[in-house]
Homo-oligomer: 471 residues x 2
């Protein structure tokens, strides 16, 4: 399978003078063609080399985004929306030049409808900023990818995180979007009702579309009441298999765990170093339980029994909020902890998701692959969903290490697909996962995706060349 | 707004001889042009007069469906998939003739993956048949529209029902679909992983597409472990407002009720007659709680407190399974109970869903409208979602009663949309709700829906003239 490394390909076109003139007049210092700003917008957290947009515009409103897109449509200039730059699969690389449309300054919370358990935010509001904003309402927004990503970006990549096993992903938690279409029209994808059967699901079409069908400018999400009680616990296991089977049983018994995260021994060690913790360095599950006092107690007791049945070691509890926060911060910083295992390396991360019945086999075969490799590797995952990541550290100066990492990646993704799983559980397609879509979906389904792309973006200006390439 | 009553319009074309010849040779007695069979397939549970397809084909496999659709594409013959005929908004009417493709004999459960909490069924399997099939697994499928609808039809209309407040709708519970496209290709919309970010959400594009983008032939759905404990309770209220405010508080406090149904006094009376019950004939809430013994007890106590705060009368408990089944059967037969309030009438049912903060206002103004009308009216709803139905009984011989019912319907749907709600929470668009889509979505969003329809069905043969009309 041909891997579309962006440096292999693809013309970069200069921006038309008239286009530059209009934008620089209208946006002043919010329009930039300087190298540093373009560089900042031409990369993400993937291992790809940067590919710079020709210019960057900072928008402050949906109407500004619409005007910019109209101009891009008129001049057929590619446009790539940019939130916090935390995507992991090359989504933001300007492989055909054009402009990066930065929405990070669209950072206003538009409305909090606490009584309806919804909030509407501009696309640049981050998940943490939203939670700070609503902290006095008794509500919270649960979706938590590792980074403090923007809600627009999270919707665009169909993100999830550690709470998805209980609260779902962006797919389930976006109520409605404001979108600027490829023609520069402003639409709302849905009303604010909890459910609707009123026509095609435009919301779900744009969730996960990675900027290729339109630009998300506002997001209405579901909020949840803070649980009356929360407790968190760590349980170590002697083997990866025991840990994974403990998770499988927990899910199959329907225990409503809020979080269940797996870290292999290498990741535990990295997290210990990075976050100054003293966790026992063997495969580990990190649980969190939400509910009433009685329900949390019940869930915890049941999971402890299940863990014991799978040779789990003692539970360590983190009942007070400070300890819990420390633990989950460490988990959220795992990516950066992993990078520091071998300073100067880059990470090639994978992200597969398999039916839970296949999880043990999927992880075990991957562990075996990694053990045969010379590359440092770390495994962690939102295993309650059957979703896990492998982080392979490669020396940027050694192309052969990239090749080796991609070989491991390719094998494990192919196995996941053969197990009726997916090539990406939550990171999205970007550039890195494009070669796997044919294997996962088949040619006829990809034809429908291309038909959708052509229908919504006939000039192919919206983040062109991502998810499905049209030419 | 022009109401597209199908009898007003639309040419019916005779089937090409060669088309008939091929189908009758291939399908024998499973291809029919007899009046009785066409009549059975040219209507649903809506108040519309039937509009007959020119022929009916009974398919037994996805491959047969694909072959039929290829032929329809070749001869540009409209094709309307048919499950159990229980849709409510005119979805099945053959307004442009063509064939009805009956999948009711595709009634095999393809796979039960108990360990993954999923089942895959052919499109003609009904929700009750699925639950009978899996009864020994300890799992159940929760989505329960009033009728014993087919899973294919439920996916096609984005159906829900009484359990949606806890378990979600078909939008959240379809994992993957097998679909025959308008070109007669067979695709799978997704793998069986619990989550995925691998490209456009084809699953959600087909869920709710009402046969207008392709024909669903297999459905993979989520299953849930039977809760350890279940209890149900009835609580009467003196006023509609008190009942609705009780629900609003329950939802806002995050109590994980499994079901909370509202019936107005008229519906309680109808249900008493139809199901030989002796429920107190005032506005009523019917609750069900799922969970562990302790959690169910906790939820019930909390809701009792909330009900007391809203002047609720005594709770009546149905703890044993027989009593519960009787109660929920009565609820599910409410539609037929309502019809018998005035024998010989037809029902015009509405189906709006509003943000929960607007529910009391929405229902109260509707009650006032109904009280001013001479038509018998009954209100019930899945009020935990903000979703309710009004059933207006009209004499088929009196056109003025249809006009009056539609006037009430129009006013209440418009109000719902103004409240940021939707013109249909769960019944779908069909013919009856088409006029409201412009008000709900706006012209630019409808343009995208039309672009999607054209991209997926360029010859406009898939249930043409429904959801969005292209000509």
């Amino acid at each position: 399978m041909n891997h579309p490394m962006p440096h292999l390909s693809l013309l970069k076109r200069a921006l038309p003078d008239a286009f530059v003139e209009v934008l620089s007049t209208r946006f002043g210092t919010r329009f930039s063609m300087t190298e540093a700003i373009r560089l900042h917008h031409g990369r993400d957290e993937s291992a790809f080399d940067p590919m710079l947009p020709d210019a960057v515009v900072f928008a402050h409103s949906t109407e500004e985004v619409a005007d910019i897109v109209k101009l891009c449509s008129q001049y057929e200039v590619p446009v790539i929306p940019y939130g916090t730059g935390s995507s992991l699969e090359g989504h933001l690389l300007a492989i055909r030049g054009g402009i990066s449309l930065d929405v990070s300054e669209m950072n206003q919370v538009v409305a909090v409808n606490a009584e309806d358990l919804t909030a509407t935010v501009q696309a640049g509001v981050t998940r943490k900023a939203l939670n700070v904003h609503i902290k006095d309402t008794g509500l919270f927004f649960p979706i938590d990818p590792g980074a403090d990503a923007s809600l627009g970006g999270m919707a665009a990549t169909r993100a999830s995180g550690t709470n998805a096993v209980r609260y779902g992903t962006m797919r389930e938690n976006v109520v409605s979007l404001t979108v600027v279409t490829a023609a520069g029209k402003i639409i709302k994808t849905a009303r604010r009702a909890r459910k609707s059967s009123a026509g095609y699901d435009l919301t779900r079409i744009f969730v996960g579309s990675e900027g290729t069908l339109g630009i998300i400018t506002e997001v209405t999400v579901k909020l949840y009441p803070h649980p009356e009680a929360i407790s968190a616990a760590i349980c170590n296991f002697a083997t990866v298999e025991d840990a994974v089977h403990c998770v499988i049983t927990t899910i199959q018994m329907g225990v409503p765990v809020a979080r269940v995260e797996f870290l292999d021994a290498a990741f535990v060690k990295a997290v210990n170093v990075h976050s100054k913790l003293t966790l026992k360095e063997s495969p580990l599950l990190l649980f969190e339980f939400h509910g009433s006092e009685a329900s949390v107690k019940e869930q915890a007791e049941l999971v402890q029994e299940i863990a014991t049945d799978h040779n789990g070691m003692e539970f360590t509890w983190a009942t007070n909020p400070e300890d819990r926060t420390k633990l989950w911060s460490a988990r959220h910083n795992a990516y950066f902890a992993g990078l520091q295992v071998k300073p100067g390396t880059r990470a090639i991360t994978t992200d597969v998701c398999v039916p839970i019945s296949k999880l043990a086999e999927s992880i075990s075969t991957t562990v075996a692959d990694c053990e045969q490799s010379s590359l440092p590797s770390l495994i962690l995952g939102h295993v309650g969903d059957g979703n896990y990541h492998v982080m392979l550290l490669v020396d940027p100066a050694k192309p052969e290490e990239f090749v080796e990492a991609e070989k491991i990646n390719h094998a494990l993704v192919s196995r996941a697909i053969q197990m009726d799983g997916t090539c990406t559980g939550e990171h999205g397609v970007g550039l890195h996962k494009m070669p796997f879509l044919i294997e996962e979906h088949g040619e006829d389904a990809l034809d429908l995706m291309r038909a959708l792309k052509r229908a919504f973006d006939p000039k192919n200006i919206m983040n062109p060349g991502k998810i499905v390439a049209l030419d």
